[in-house]
Subunit: 256 residues, 2 copies
């Protein structure tokens, strides 16, 4: 564990997300799992299947964050151009990777399907990259520099993430705490703003809701300092009571 | 209607998306609705509640696209900083907007709740912006230049979008067509790649699926030219039959 903030970005690659055909499910998964590992997701981008757009997003994000995760575009079809774009972003070549070829050969020998030229494309890997195991459908992901190149299909992406997570070094774990009350956001805003001013080490987010015919607000506190988080939470509960509402504990999470 | 490609970007503002607490629902809605209006969503970004990050994302995207839509951060609490960030991005001031103040006064007079300082913050609007009606909860969104600033709560964002859509000028509508077959992606990849090479005006995406115990692939064709789309689709159906599978029509959409 590192004693500083460790940050990450996600680059979602795929026309199907931007056309509205498919709703992305990888971002919520990665956001949650990274946070559990003490890595703060600070940025996400969705880009189309265009090489220049992928190169640009990968190069901008890998310069700004400790880790970058891409999803999508590593299958066997003509629109799977992530590998070439990653090679271009790192200014390295891309070629058939002996270990990846062996994995695909063994897999297709097992299934009886033909390892044709299109399928073999999935063994093309940028020079210097290290494979990431794909226990679901075998065609591997890979890591190059601080960039992890993963599949777009959620079940495969999730399995690849579990295969690679031992390589990630988390920073200070972020504790979070959610407290709700049946108070309109506009009623608690002033006191909450003052409270946030007194606790700069605690990130306080405010999320209005409407449940069972009543307006309410969930306040989420996040901090790497559990004592300061607890102190802010105590003040928050008191603020809610002062405004005539009972604080409702929603959830606590203490990853680490 | 414009006779060129009209492009858009979405900037989702909110720590809650990046922490995994909330799954974004605005991007799929905007992607679908914009496409229906002949506007191609070409990029999306998720940024945290940090002024510099919002300024950067808004300025980069508004220079690259015809329209930009932001969601989130326009409520009454201390973490709602979108207005100030937008003003900074456009290098203009931000102040109470007379019409917005009047809307909020009328609304809170109706509901009986107090129009306090925090709620009045929702009437702060960057100089030169034009209000966007919010039929759900009244506090307005606004347009400044080619940027539309919308709420983060999906029901409110969607209502605001319907209020503003008459201001958007779409380009050539994109027709799309999805044809599936019980063929593995790797089996159709070669023929599909050749087909894509013969039809550069048709964007062909390939999406594997697993249904009722069988692997299959959906091919989505998108084009502004209906004749070329139809020609590519006819070849695609023939390709599927040549590979021994029956083409299954999934959906056609002809916005415009």
């Amino acid at each position: 564990m590192s004693d500083r903030i460790v940050s990450a970005a996600v680059v979602v690659i795929g026309n199907e997300i931007l056309s509205g055909r498919t709703a992305d499910r990888n971002l919520p998964f990665l956001a949650t799992r990274l946070n559990e590992l003490g890595i703060q997701l600070r940025e996400a981008r969705v880009v189309p299947d265009l090489e220049d757009e992928i190169v640009r997003a990968v190069n901008e994000t890998r310069a700004r964050h400790d880790y970058v995760f891409t999803t999508g575009g590593i299958g066997p079809t003509h629109d799977d151009i992530t590998g070439d774009a990653i090679a271009k972003a790192f200014a390295v070549g891309i070629d058939y990777h002996a270990e990846a070829v062996a994995i695909l050969k063994a897999h297709y020998a097992n299934t009886g399907a033909e390892l044709n030229t299109a399928r073999l494309r999935m063994a093309r890997v940028p020079a210097g990259a290290e494979l990431i195991d794909n226990p679901v459908s075998k065609a591997p992901g890979y890591q190059i520099g601080n960039v992890f190149v993963l599949a777009g299909v959620p079940a495969i992406m999730q399995a690849m993430f579990e295969s690679l997570k031992h390589k990630l070094v988390g920073g200070l774990p972020v504790r979070s705490l959610a407290i709700a009350a049946y108070l309109a956001e506009g009623a608690i805003a002033k006191g909450l703003g003052e409270l946030a001013g007194r606790h700069p080490e605690v990130d306080l987010g405010s999320y209005p809701f409407y449940r069972q015919g009543r307006f309410g607000t969930s306040i989420v506190g996040r901090s790497t300092d559990p004592d300061r988080l607890a102190a802010a939470a105590a003040e928050l509960r008191q603020l809610m009571r002062d405004l005539g509402a009972e604080p409702l504990e929603e959830s606590t999470n203490s990853p680490g």
